[in-house]
Symmetry: C2
Subunit: 359 residues, 2 copies
């Protein structure tokens, strides 16, 4: 149980990077680059070097941390750096960081000289359980998320829980939302197991199970034509709430915090428009609201939120589409919902949130 | 003989765009964009519209003509324009122009929202016989050619000789060099046929044959690991001469003119280092030098030329690699040659060029 086979490559778990050492020592590559951000070069590079042992022959390419730097200007900078280093088509890029680094590094690698090999070592929980699988790379343009990118596969992925030790709790909680989602959309038992666990002490088994679930879904539908859309559960409303918060809140929601809110709202829609039972709705709401910090979706933001949902790149022909639960552990795609129902679901979140606060 | 099947798509010949009308009318696409440059929007769009008949529902995205605009700034402009037009993942981009338009349009389409469909309608001879096949897209960074790009396939390609009517003679001659190359590397009979023809009146059959040859080669080796390298014949030296001329000459060589020079030099290397016979060397030299305008490779440019060759992205580990003829119609890859021999081949071009001028 230390490897999952994904399209054309392996995802290695808790191997202390041993297979990576082999890849590097094979001599297949003319040069090795490690791509990291200011945080991961400080906090993750030492462990990376320790695990690789005597091999130290790489050049470090460092970028500023944060989503705001996942943009085309930084890409141009990295392409030029590779040029300056005289990187040829046989070099290897190792992306060491969270989803920003693996998304942007993957895009840069897959387009430099029409594609060089890259390997991802995700160092956040979110990047390990979500960004690590599915071949999506991307960058933002004018703050529109992932507006440019490619479907492209790494040579390998290495998931090492050791890197998570320095990750702030809030970042752990952010990635944990995707794990809850994995349980809700395809595996009731996994959801139950997560409910009993502590997000601050995630087990390797749970990470493995999340990767396994996501890998199964994306392997069936690599280009997001159908079943893969179940992974959007919580994200239609969640993304809108996240975008709004980024613009308006002093201390904006993380991705996972916003998705947690989205999952409560979309559970409401699931019970209204799909077969999710009332008890299941209450179960999901209670669990999420007691796990995640309180937030209020302001009444006067509803119009903006709907506008964000309409401009989501997943829509076609202007229709807002949802993936909704039919029970805990099963999910339907392409559900359409009226704007009024969406607003109701936002109000539902606020009301139940307040009630739980009053407990 | 009006269709060639390439990896996952068809190249249509002289169909008056009838299959394109069907594709558009199928209703598969939410929006249609035509991407053109200032010249092709003037000179090719009218014929395009005439052929498509009553269908006119597309938005035009226009860019400035010329290689200097095949860059990341223009890409960003096009991505943003697509965003402004609210282009979703189900839209179609039709690239109507020379290799600059099909290369850049293909790159933009294959990365916008991680990939939308595109169709190429090459309108220069070079783009029809060369850029039309093989799935390469790309743009220049800091004037380094095709430094960023992807291997990605169009939905279809349409080759219509009608578009060539407005193409300047010098551009015809530029594309013709690639056709001569196709004959030299794999088909002696085709080379002989071309020798008897007039580049100003290229037959559809010849274009078809060139596309067929290139398609066969790239289908065998889509990612340029081996046999595809024979297409580089004439290009190792040719590219260097082209780059030098772009920087130093008032009226720089076209790509094809430079490749023609490269083919003479590399024919010399082929007779020195491979099995090309002396008679064949003379035959190639005579034919090319009487077809293409005179040029002198300045003695004091040799060092720069070698430096350009060394920085070519096709090299590995700093070795300059050649594809050399073993006879007219057969070509070997991965031939290494000393710097002195390369200089000799440049001098050979100058000498034989002068002799022919004296005839
Ligand atoms: N490709 C996909 O399928 C996919 C899926 C989900 C998310 N994403 C993308 O991932 C990004 C979000 O990922 P993220 O949350 O990992 O963002 P991130 O990369 O910005 O990481 C979050 C923060 O944690 C820091 N960090 C990373 N590893 C650390 C460690 N081990 N210790 C201490 N600090 C560390 C980073 O420097 C950053 O400040 C978004 O851009 C999103 O679009 C992609
Ligand atoms: N993808 C590939 O496999 C491949 C192969 C070869 C070349 N290329 C690329 O192609 C580019 C060169 O192609 P090109 O020579 O077609 O360049 P181009 O697109 O710049 O066209 C040359 C000129 O002809 C004009 N033009 C185009 N069609 C016309 C028409 N029908 N009538 C009048 N004028 C017309 C253009 O506006 C331009 O000014 C280079 O960037 C090169 O890297 C790509
Ligand atoms: Zn998410
Ligand atoms: Zn060429």
């Amino acid at each position: 149980m230390n490897k999952i086979d994904s399209a054309g490559h392996s995802i290695h778990f808790e191997t202390q990077l041993a297979p990576l050492t082999d890849i590097i020592k094979s001599g297949k590559y003319s040069k090795i680059f490690v791509f990291a951000d200011g945080n991961t070069s400080q906090l993750c590079l030492p462990l990376f070097q320790e695990l690789l042992g005597d091999f130290q022959a790489f050049d470090l390419i460092e970028t500023d941390p944060g989503e705001e730097n996942k943009n085309i200007d930084f890409c141009i900078g990295i392409w030029k750096t590779l040029l300056d280093f005289e990187a040829d088509r046989k070099c290897l890029m190792i992306n060491l960081g969270g989803g920003v680094i693996t998304d942007m590094g993957g895009f840069v690698a897959s387009t430099y000289k029409r594609g060089i090999d890259f390997i991802n070592i995700p160092t956040t929980l979110l990047a390990q359980v979500d960004a690590s699988v599915g071949g999506k790379t991307g960058i933002d343009i004018d703050n529109v998320k992932n507006m440019v990118g490619a479907f492209t596969l790494p040579q390998a992925v290495f998931i090492e829980s050791g890197f998570l030790k320095t990750l702030p709790k809030r970042e752990l909680l952010s990635g944990f939302a995707e794990m809850i989602k994995h349980g809700l959309i395809v595996d009731q038992d996994y959801y139950k197991m997560l409910k009993k666990s502590d997000y601050k002490k995630i087990s390797s088994d749970a990470i493995y199970r999340s990767v396994e679930i996501k890998n199964k879904v994306v392997t069936e539908d690599p280009h997001e034509k159908g079943i893969r859309k179940i992974l959007n559960y919580g994200h239609t409303i969640g993304h809108a709430v996240e975008t709004y918060s980024l613009i308006h809140d002093k201390n904006p929601l993380t991705h996972g915090e916003a998705i947690a809110i989205g999952m409560v709202c979309e559970a409401y829609l699931s019970s209204n428009n799909n077969n999710l039972s009332h008890d299941e709705l209450i179960d999901i709401s209670n669990y999420i609201l007691t796990t995640y910090p309180k937030y209020t979706i302001k009444e006067d933001s509803f119009t903006d939120l709907l506008a964000f949902m309409k401009s989501d790149k997943k829509n076609e022909n202007g229709q807002i589409m949802f993936s909704l639960l039919s029970s805990i552990g099963t999910c339907s795609i392409n559900c359409s919902v009226t704007e009024n129902e969406i607003k109701e679901s936002l109000s539902y979140y606020n009301i139940i949130n307040k009630n739980i606060a009053n407990d």
